[in-house]
Amino acid sequence: MSIKIFVPGDSAALALGADALAKNILAEAARRNMAVELVRNGSRGMLWLEPLVEVQTARGRVAFGPVSAEDVGALFDANFQNGGKHALNLGLTEELAYLKKQERLTFARVGITDPLSLEDYLAHDGFQGLRKALTMQPAAIVQQVTDSGLRGRGGAAFPTGIKWKTVLNTAAAQKYIVCNADEGDSGTFADRMLMEGDPFVLIEGMTIAALAVGATQGYIYVRSEYPHSITILNEAIAAARKAGYLGPNILNSGNSFELEVRKGAGAYVCGEETSLLESLEGKRGIVRAKPPLPAIAGLFGKPTVINNVISLASVPIILDRGAAFYKDYGMGRSHGTLPFQLAGNIKQGGLIEKAFGVTLRELMYDFGGGSASGRPIKAVQVGGPLGAYLPESQWDTPLDYEAYTALWAVLGHGGIVVHDDSADLAKLARYAMKFCAIESCGKCTPCRIGATRGVEVMDKIIAGQDTEAQVELLRDLCDTMLNGSMCAMGGMTPYPVLSALNHFPRDFVKKIPV
């Protein structure tokens, strides 16, 4: 019997040498005359342990990590293929606390299955949601999604079911499903991990959306910085189409749905939905005025469902297990789970899928183990480059959409970037303005001009020129951007800037050199 070994093919593992490692494992096995079946799985999301190698044993899968290509000989010597003793042996993967304490619904298969094996997907409840959807009326599918309480995971948290209902009720000869995979926020990688680790679940979610609203064409807009995601998605789409899960006659139901991957080109603002639609149409990614909503006049002027990767990938389990099952997770009006992404200066960074209601402190210390540098944590940015910096006094607030709104912060796409006490919040506030100046689409003045003026004001504050007057100017400028911008780019840049100023005012006073 051959030995089954898993070496992740996820980008994070590849960036840490997983390809060379996989090659060495095969070569070493051949040298020892051992039959090995090597699976390139997704990542389990324990990124400080990558590359994380697993071996299938009678007791379950045993994890070893972080493994480098040079460790392979010693691992075979230690009989690792049977879970043998070695310094890198972490024990049974499923028993690792980091994983065991999670509630994996959307990421249920990621890291476990072979991402491109349809057989594996089917063996792990794949396409159960689609099969149920095929027996239901469109309005009933929309109702299930509405009842589940699912809200847009891209950051805006708009109820997904309501969006779908608008598209369903808008008559048109052509409708579209668009997946927003332009995951540009620093500190986020959930979309990437899902596309690389379980692409079929996204395809299934989009197909269910198509059945629900009567769309026949879908696009996945992936950023150009994710070349591996694009390759994997294209292979998965081809496999699904060949097996009849996509194409002109889905599972002989008479329904048709075609899916295509489109590549972005390095514009952060294209993560904004109307800018993304412009880009898909082959234009500059300039934000559109709303109304009309994309649900009524979206891609090429047609009714369009545009949802984030995680929103769409959460749909299959909702259809399979029922709205009530999903809704049961979470707190208040934040139902279900969110894949939190713990990043930056953190010892044990990775993906943690938990029900809403967990706190930052739990994530950073119970899961993350504190800062990577060993220094005290000073500030945490939640929700990407447009999210607020949170000081320690706010780390015990439950991660819940409404609780964060009350703090004047956002959950966004669930990215958490940790900074230790060497961080200078005035510099980070300047960076937020600079980033907005670089990435602004240029359509509205508060964002286009405001961000550039913001950098200038921050430069003066950092240089200690007339600080008091400049801080007043900064607040005034932020007020204009907040209330006068067309989209979140200019409208939310004040979140990191003002939260840094309000919670860390000492960083905005020039240090007097001794």
């Binding site: 980008s11 994070a12 590849l14 960036a15 840490l16 990124l47 400080w48 990558e50 995951e183 540009g184 926020d185 620093s186 500190g187 986020t188 990688f189 990437r192 150009s224 910085e225 994710y226 070349p227 591996h228 489109r262 590549k263 972005g264 080109a265 390095g266 514009a267 952060y268 880009s279 898909l280 149409e281 082959g282 234009k283 500059r284 990614g285 090429f300 992404q341 713990l342 990043a343 930056g344 200066n345 953190i346 960074g349 990775g350 993906l351 990577a372 940015q381 480059p385 990215g415 970037v417 940790v418 900074h419 230790d420 961080a423 980070l428 960076y431 980033f435 670089i438 990435e439 689409c441």
Partner: protein, 152 residues
């Protein structure tokens, strides 16, 4: 560069893509993939095929950071400069890279900032072509450019 060959390969890219809805970005991607950049003298050709003005095509090329209209250096290293990488010393890495490559031949290697490669829990990160590298220390960077055969 052979201009006639350019025109020919651009023509075949355009004709294979022009009937797709929203064809401009896929066409620009394919041209840049084939030639390394989008030659400015191809703008007229693309515009005519898609029934657009030259200004519209120029506008799209210059809007997106990914597209370029000049030939790239022999090697391009994209270093992530977003917040998560900053928190782990990306600025120091960029400084180190610039210093190390200061002595290299003109057109040999270009260092470009990029905003997020999605490797935020294993930062700082960089990308060479489609090859990713994470937890990049100055020493790891030096080994990398040595492997790439860049003389400094």
């Amino acid at each position: 560069m052979n201009l006639a060959r350019h025109t020919e390969s651009i023509a075949s890219i355009i004709s294979s893509q022009q009937n797709r809805p929203g064809a401009l970005l896929p066409i620009l991607h394919d041209i840049q993939e084939a030639l390394g950049f989008i030659p400015p003298d191809s703008i007229q050709q693309i515009a005519s095929a898609l029934n657009l003005s030259r200004a519209e095509v120029h506008g799209v090329i210059t809007f997106y950071h990914h597209f370029r209209t000049t030939p790239p250096a022999r090697h391009t290293i994209e270093i992530c400069c977003a917040e998560a990488c900053q928190s782990m010393g990306a600025e120091r890495l960029v400084e180190h890279a610039k210093q190390r490559l200061a002595g290299s031949k003109h057109g040999e290697c270009e260092v470009k900032p990029v905003y997020c490669l999605g490797l935020c829990a294993t930062s700082p990160a960089l990308m060479v072509g489609e090859e990713l590298h994470a937890r990049v220390t100055p020493e790891k960077f030096d080994r990398l450019i040595e492997q790439m055969g860049i003389k400094t």
